[in-house]
């Protein structure tokens, strides 16, 4: 599914990711943990093609397709989705209009038919119900005036509507209280499948109680410095990241 090989990423000439290699097979959920500033968000931006995150070496492919040569929207159409650590507020763009535009743009790029407005409304209501997204939230301009938790919920809502194949969740747990965390995690788990995969970036082990990972990787100093099973997350929770200081 996702194959990252010896990836190097610079921001403004400063090396942030330094030779990262990672493989996430279809059907699996991998977690990436690491201290603040380790480069977790940088990795997610580099994979999704944000300007200014310059890949200087290495490769990244999704089902064999070279991601790095594609513009962000083409990567999205291939099924790559990023739930942002800090979702943006976009005044003047109604949430549902935005999501329908996005879904239809992806469909068009894949050579599929557009979804009709009634079909989309039906779909959006069904998904909203599951994720505790209210009608009011869907009618407001995108994320405007939302709490941190509401924004994260909207990210997962968008994810469920767009139904991507590879999902990157960048600190989706931050800003969520325990009830919201449960609802959102259930929503995420519902999107798991044999032909899909996820990269769950988190700072805390807590999220991984709800979204059970197959593998856990530690990112420090721009590389994967340790990998293991779900237990690794528990160890990290107890001992912190200090022991990776030198490895980085």
């Amino acid at each position: 599914m996702l194959n990252i090989d010896n990836l190097h990423v610079e921001i403004g000439g400063k090396a942030i990711i330094n030779g990262l290699t990672l493989e996430v097979p279809a059907g699996q959920v991998h977690a990436i943990m690491g201290p603040n500033g380790a480069g977790k968000s940088t990795l997610s931006y580099a994979l999704t093609g944000r300007e200014g995150y310059e890949v200087t070496r290495g490769t990244a492919t999704l089902n064999g397709v070279d991601l790095l040569s594609l513009p962000p929207e083409a990567r999205a159409a291939k099924g790559l989705f990023l739930s942002f650590q800090y979702p943006l507020e976009i005044p003047g763009v109604p949430t549902l209009t935005f999501l329908r535009t996005a879904l239809n743009a992806q469909r068009k790029a894949r050579g599929e038919d557009e979804i009709s407005v009634p079909d989309f409304m039906k779909l959006s209501r069904e998904v909203a119900k599951k994720l505790g997204v209210t009608q009011d939230m869907m009618k407001r301009p995108l994320n405007v005036g939302f709490s941190g938790g509401e924004k994260k919920r909207m990210e997962i809502y968008a994810m469920a509507l767009l139904d991507p194949r590879f999902m990157i969740l960048d600190e989706t747990d931050s800003g969520l209280d325990i009830d919201a965390l449960r609802v959102v995690s259930e929503g995420v788990n519902a999107l798991r499948g044999p032909k899909k995969a996820m990269l769950v970036i988190t700072h805390y082990q807590r999220l991984l109680d709800y979204i059970k990972p197959d593998r856990v990787h530690v990112l420090a100093g721009g590389r994967i410095v340790d990998s293991g099973g779900p237990d690794l997350a528990l160890t990290l929770e107890a001992s912190g990241y200090d022991r990776y200081k030198d490895a980085a």
Binding site: T48, G49, R50, E51, P71, P72, E73, R75, A76, A77, F81, L82, F84, P87, L88, I90, P91, G92, V93, F98, L99, T101, A102, L103, A105, Q106, A109, P141, A158, L162
Partner: protein, 394 residues
């Protein structure tokens, strides 16, 4: 010493010819002979050089005046053509329509004097009771228009004007007097080709408890300038002007306004938003003048614009001049680029770059229309903006 009249450029000579044989035409002619057309050396025209815009003469009119949009189907349509004006549609009771000689304005030079000078006659709209039927002033390519509106106390009128010429010099002068408690609502749409010159000036006197509320959308032209001069002369008078502009290619649009608070307890609310790309130029000059006696004035002005590409130009001059001490005045002015982070966010969701840009620009600029109470009018403006964005950006 011998006085030599300044030598006139081709454009100025052509303008002299286009002026009507009226007193207003004579006055404009005299002013051009004495000092020429305004150029960038005149402070008020420093970003909009009219003489330079006319250096190749007055373009021959071409293009169409456009259809009457669906949301104005029930309006009384008045067509202004280079030959004169004509009416079409029903007229409500309480509306008196006359025409009068185009008289010169006192002590003025510039757009208003020219617009007065081009018009062979002035149309007079006298409103004596509430009007439910809007009046649609359809300005044809190359046509002059002069309209004087008198709103008696407690009356109201909705005035729409459009100017969509491909080429030609079109002009408009609207003079409005709003008596106590009267409301004039005005909507304008301007979209000119790269051989169109559009000069418009609206001067309005706002009485006690009266409201002037104007909303415009400009796409510019070879040279387009829309001026507003509003005078608030009675307590409770309210002036609200909203304007959006979208400019591409070599388009030029200038929004110049002066709002004078002469009475206590008067209000101004101004919001202008625009986006400019290619080699186009947007000009915003907004002056609010609060005279000594105008205590408890509340005036707000905002102008925010996006520079979409290098080479585009936006010039803004917000000006507050306040001679009263107990007032609330605020203004904000920003010129920036499209938010790269927001753009990436939309693209990550699968929206192609140009479409994402168009979406963000539309959201930014059409905020101006968000507070319009009539849904179909809001849609009309939003649709114009969206159509333009689709062909120019998305």
């Amino acid at each position: 010493m011998v006085l030599v009249a300044p030598s006139l450029a081709d454009g100025e000579l052509a303008v002299l010819e286009a002026l009507a044989p009226t007193q207003a035409g004579e006055a404009a002619r005299a002013s051009i002979l004495a000092q020429g057309l305004p150029t960038k050396r005149n402070e008020a025209f420093k970003w909009s050089d009219l003489r330079a815009a006319l250096q190749d003469g007055v373009p021959k009119p071409s293009g169409s005046a456009g259809m009457v949009p669906a949301c104005w189907q029930d309006a009384l349509v008045i067509d202004f053509t280079p030959e004169g004006f004509g009416l079409e549609g029903d007229k409500d009771a309480g509306l008196v329509i006359e025409s009068e000689e185009s008289l010169p304005l006192e002590d003025v030079v510039g757009v208003e004097s020219l617009a007065a000078g081009f018009a062979p006659r002035a149309l007079v709209l006298r409103i004596t009771s509430q009007q439910s039927r809007p009046i649609f002033l359809r300005r044809h390519p190359g046509a002059p228009m002069r309209v004087r509106v008198e709103l008696k106390a407690e009356t109201n009128l909705t005035l729409v004007d459009t100017s969509l010429g491909e080429a030609g010099l079109a002009s408009a002068l609207i003079e409005a007097e709003l008596a106590t408690g009267a409301t004039l609502t005005r909507y304008s749409l301007q979209q000119g080709g790269n051989k169109a010159i559009d000069l418009s000036h609206c001067r309005v006197t706002i009485g006690a408890g009266a409201t002037y509320e104007a909303t415009s959308l400009m796409f510019g032209a070879h040279f387009a300038r829309a001026e507003t001069l509003a005078r608030l002369i009675g307590a409770g008078g309210y002036c609200r002007i909203r304007g959006a502009y979208l400019l591409a290619g070599s388009s030029h649009a200038d929004m110049t306004s002066k709002i004078i608070h002469l009475s206590p307890d008067t209000f101004t609310e101004e919001l202008f938003k625009g986006a400019v790309q290619d080699r186009a130029r947007g000009v915003f000059q907004g002056k609010i003048l609060v005279e000594r006696g105008a205590q408890q004035t509340d005036a707000r002005q905002n102008h925010h614009a996006l520079m979409l590409t290098e080479g585009a130009q936006i010039d803004a001059k917000p000006e507050l001049e306040i001679y009263a001490d107990d007032v609330q005045c605020a203004h904000g002015n920003t010129i920036g680029a499209l938010d790269e982070e927001a753009l990436f966010y939309l693209r990550q969701r699968g929206i192609p770059e140009n479409q994402a840009k168009a979406l963000l620009i539309e959201a930014f600029v059409t905020e101006v229309f968000d507070t319009l109470s009539e849904q179909d009018v809001r849609d009309w403006f939003n649709d114009q903006a969206r159509t333009w964005l689709k062909s120019r950006v998305g």
